[in-house]
Structure formats: C-alpha cells, structure tokens
C-alpha cells in the first residue's frame, strides 16, 4: 500500500537521523519496556559494560539508580533536564549528562525518552586545561620570584667573598652591614610575595565610606605630589558610595594606584579622582595625565613583578587587584599617550538606607 511505503520511508529516514547524532536516545513505553535505542546509545551503554542486545526492560540495564528512577518517573509525566552523573564501570570512570522526558501521544502518557551524552572527554580536557593553567601561573610566578630574589643573593655572595679578602676592620663592618641589608631585602621580597598569594589573615569586614578612604590616601601622598607640582583633586558625589570590606586593605589598594599615577607625572600634572554609584555598583576613577602605558605593556601591568621602574617591585597593581577582587570587584585600566585612567568597581551597599 502507498501509505505503508511512505510510513516505512519516514521511519527509515528518522532512524538514519537518530543514528547520526552523538546523543544517545533510548525510548521506553509506560512500563519501562525498551522500544528503541539509537547507535550512540548502544555505544555509550557498551562502554558502560551493558550489552543492549538481549535486554527488554530498562530495569534490566543496570543503569545507575538515579537515571533508572528518572526514566520511570518521566514515563509518569516528570521531566529531568541537564542532569550530570559519573559512573564507574570496569575501572573506567565516565561523565554522562542526561535528560529524561515524557512522551505524550494523543494527549496520553506513552512512555519516556532518555537522552544521554558522553562528556568524559570534555571533562578530562577541561581538567587538563585547568591544571595547565595552574602550572603556567605558578611557573610564571616562581620565575618572577627567582629573578627578584637572586639579586640580593648575588650581592650577598659577593659580599662574603669580599669579606674574605679584607682584614681592615672598618671595611669589614661596612660589608657586614651591607650583608644584613641584603638579607632584609630577600625577606621583604618574600613577604610581599606571600602577601600576594595568601589570603589576608584576619579581615575586618565593615561598611566602608569610599570617600573617607580616598581622602586618607590623598592625605598620605599630598606632600610628594606637591613636590612634583601635581594637583590632586577629589570630586565628591551624593550619596557617597559605600562598600563592604576591610578599610585598611582598600586603602592599600587605592594607595598603590595613586602612587603609580604620581610616579607617572614627575614633570607635573593633575590627578583627578571621581566616584559614583551605578545601580548595585560603586566605581572610583583615578585619572592622571602622565606618561601613559605603551600598548605593548598594557596586558602586563597586573602581572606580579612586572615593572618599568628602576626601584619598583612590580607588585603594586597585582596586590591592588587581589584586594579588589577579594571584595567582589574588578579593576580596569585604559591608557594612551595623554595619560592613564584606572577604574575600581566594587559591589555597592544599597543606597536607600543612607538617604
């Protein structure tokens, strides 16, 4: 019969389509009897050590309990989306993601579809990537530390050798003092470094008035700024942004930014600080008209130990960013030959309370 032929054609086409997708598709009726499984499903089940061939009911498959129950509940009308599970079979662990949804035919419940995807490789890949990233970051940090700390080490070793060559007591005293300075330097480098990688010990979280913190930072550098002929201004706003965190840490974060601005304007200039609130976000902007950051350095300025200064440690911005991120915020920098704008974003505390 003609319609029979069409039916078969359609059926074959659907089967072909289902066999060419990478998702496993298993169809059961209302009693859990297996009606259909595509190639991918058979493949995944086989990997799990389950031969499909002689099985009649979903319960015989020995799927993981959660999946099996979900299929039964789906046949009764429930839906499960984007579920994840890990199964161990023959000593191999597999990551599966799956859906179980009811089939409704002619307004009646007619069974369930189980969709399974084998994500083992993707999960392994993501893990490997994370591990590589972690190792790369650690390697970079350690290389930076090595560069930094071997300077005082080189000096210290040389000083010891010089000590060996002189009997002059005055000279020896001077060398000893130098030696102890180099030890202090090694210690400072390590302390800075530990500050950078360790969470601050006892954070005192409180409601911070951002304007107050900014003013206290400006008070610290006003003398130096005047020396270089740099005008510093704060444009206050109403209401003043308030954020949660340790005010001492936030002060440190702002101070590093402000110091950089001053150091970029040794020929004089202006540092303009403004702040405000946009919805649940507070922002503080530090705008200088100093030397600017050349494009090729802009990606590097947050990297620990990156510095273009003779006496810089290169830890200022790295520390600032750590502090700000610790408060749930972020720092953005944009720079040109005309100067640099550093903007700190922080989660703001609801303003209404303060009006």
């Amino acid at each position: 019969m003609y319609s029979e032929k069409v039916n078969q054609l359609v059926k074959r086409r659907v089967t072909e389509i289902l066999d060419s997708i990478r998702h496993g598709v298993v169809v059961v009726d209302g009693k859990g009897m297996l009606l259909y499984a595509n190639k991918a499903a058979a493949g995944i089940l086989q990997k799990m050590g389950i031969p499909l061939a002689d099985k009649r009911n979903i319960a015989e498959l020995g799927l993981n309990r959660e999946m099996e129950r979900a299929v039964q509940e789906a046949a009764a009308g429930a839906s499960f989306h984007k579920q994840q599970c890990q199964v161990n079979c023959n000593g191999v662990s597999m990551h599966l993601s799956w859906d179980a949804v009811p089939i409704v035919a002619g307004g009646r419940k007619a069974g369930a579809i189980l969709l399974v995807e084998d994500e083992t490789e993707a999960v392994a890949m993501a893990r490997q990537l994370k591990e590589w990233e972690r190792l790369a970051a650690a390697g970079e940090a350690v290389a930076g530390l090595a560069h930094e700390i071997r300077n005082p080490m080189a000096a210290a070793q040389g000083i010891l050798q010089l000590l060996d060559l002189t009997d002059d007591n005055e000279q020896r005293k001077k060398l000893m003092a130098r030696f102890s300075r180099e030890l202090d330097r090694m210690n400072d480098i390590l302390t800075n470094y530990i500050d950078l990688i360790q969470p601050p010990a006892e954070e005192e979280v409180e409601l911070i008035d951002v304007l107050e913190v900014t003013k206290s930072v400006v008070a610290l550098i006003e003398g130096e700024a005047a020396l270089y002929n740099i005008g510093v201004s704060i444009r206050p706003v109403q209401p003043v942004p308030r954020v949660l965190g340790d005010p001492g840490l936030l002060k440190q974060a702002f101070l590093n930014i402000v110091k950089n601005a001053i150091e970029a304007m040794t020929e004089g200039g202006a540092l303009r600080i403004s702040m405000g609130c946009a919805g649940a976000q507070a922002w503080v902007e530090f705008k200088d008209n100093g030397s600017g950051i050349p494009p090729e350095h802009q990606d590097n300025v947050f990297r620990p130990f990156f510095t273009t200064k003779v006496a810089g440690t290169g830890l200022g911005l790295a520390l600032s960013r750590r502090i700000v991120r610790g408060m749930g915020g972020e720092i953005k920098i944009s720079s040109s030959q005309l100067g640099t704008v550093v903007t700190v974003y922080l989660p703001a505390i609801c303003q209404d309370v303060w009006r």
Partner: protein
C-alpha cells in the same frame, strides 16, 4: 676612535648587583662605567665601545637582549649576560654577541675569570 679608558660597561637595574660587580672589577683594576637602565646602557656602550659589556637579562621593561640588539658595533663589544633564571634562553641568543651567560648568585672569581679572558689582547 673609542675611548681606551673604559674596559667594561655594566648594565643592571639592581643597585646591589651593580655594586658587587663594581667592587669585583675594582679589585682587578679594571675600568668601568655603569648604567641602571637599558636605554642608558645602550648609550654608554655606543659611546665607549668597550670590549666587554656585563648586562643583566631582566631590566624592568627592557630586556638585556634588547640592549645587545642596540649595540652599534657588535664586533667590538662582546657581552656577558647575567640572569636569575636562564631557562629557554639559548634559542634567543642566536646572532647576538654573547660570550657567556652567568646565573645569579655568581662567584666573583668566576666573574673576573670571564672578564679577564674577554679583555685579553688576543680576544
């Protein structure tokens, strides 16, 4: 003609390392001038054209290799590179006038040995 008085140009942004190298060269009676930045280093090397430059690999924004690339007369000036971390450096040294690479911390006797070798008339 280059000025005959300067035998070595030291380029290092770390004042302590600079100091210890200066002390070592003083001990051996070798004349030198020092630079704290890469740019200043290039300037001094091209001005004095010394037989040897002692250059730190990591100089803030500029690298010691940038300094070597900035040498106007690489036949005349050879370099002793010093570094805190020498890994994967070898490939980058191709075509640069590098005599030796020395890792920090270094022995000042070793340093002087390399320097004197480089300054020997036949070299």
């Amino acid at each position: 003609m280059s000025s005959p008085s300067v035998q070595v140009v030291i380029v290092d942004d770390d004042s302590s390392v600079r100091w210890i190298i200066e002390q070592s060269l003083d001990l051996a009676g070798i004349s030198y001038v020092s630079a704290a930045t890469g740019a200043q280093g290039i300037e001094l090397i091209n001005l004095h054209r010394p037989p040897l430059a002692i250059v730190d690999l990591k100089l803030g924004a500029m690298s010691g290799l940038d300094v070597l690339r900035g040498i106007a007369c690489p036949r005349q000036t050879k370099a002793l590179l010093i570094t805190g971390y020498a890994s994967s450096l070898r490939d980058q040294l191709k075509d640069l006038p590098v005599l030796a690479v020395m890792e920090k911390p270094f022995d000042i006797q070793d340093l002087l040995r390399v320097v004197e070798e480089a300054l020997r008339p036949s070299a």
